[in-house]
Amino acid sequence: MNKTGAAWLMAILGWAIPGAGHLAQGRWRRGLIALVTVWGLLALGFIFGGRFFDVTSTRDGLLMLAYGAFNIGNGLAYLICFIIGAGFNSSGELVKIPTFEHANTLIMVAGLLNFLLMLDAFDIRAGKED
C-alpha cells in the first residue's frame, strides 16, 4: 500500500475507534489518551442525559444537521447506534433533565475531537508530523 493509502487507512481506523489510528502506528500514549478522552466524553454525555442527533433528517430543524455532523465524529459508536436505532431518543423526555444541553455538548465535542485526532493519525502516517 502506498503512503497516502496507508495514511487514509489510519485516519479511517482512528475515526472508527478513537485512538486506533495512533495505536496501530505504535503511538501508545497518544492513542490511549484519545480513546479514554473521546469515549469518556461520550459516556459522560449519555450518563447526563444527552443523545445523538440524526444526520439524515431535518425534522428537528436545520441546526440539528450540524449537530448530527459533529456526532458522526464518534465513528463506529454513532454508526452502530444509527443502525440499531439506539441513543437517538427525541421524545422530549430528555429535555427535562437539567444537564441535557451540557451532555449534548459533551457528545458533540467528543465527535469533533475525534475528527482532530483522526487528522493527526493521518498526518503521522503521511510523514507530515514526527
Partner: protein
C-alpha cells in the same frame, strides 16, 4: 454540576489539543494546561457576564 461538566469539557479539550498541537511531551503538558485554564476562565467570565444580561 454545570461547572463540573465545564471542567470535564475543558480538561478533555486541553488533553487532545496538547497531544496534537505540540511536538514534545513537556510542551504538550504546558500547552494542555494553558488550554484548560483558558477554557475554564473564559467559561467563568462568560457565565458572570450572562448572569447580568437581561
Amino acid at each position: 454540576m454545570h461547572f463540573l461538566l465545564m471542567i470535564v469539557f475543558a480538561a478533555a479539550v486541553g488533553l487532545v489539543f496538547g497531544c496534537v498541537g505540540r511536538p514534545s511531551w513537556s510542551e504538550r503538558l504546558r500547552y494542555g494546561a494553558k488550554v484548560f485554564a483558558e477554557f475554564t476562565l473564559v467559561g467563568l467570565l462568560l457565565g458572570w457576564l450572562l448572569y447580568f444580561s437581561p
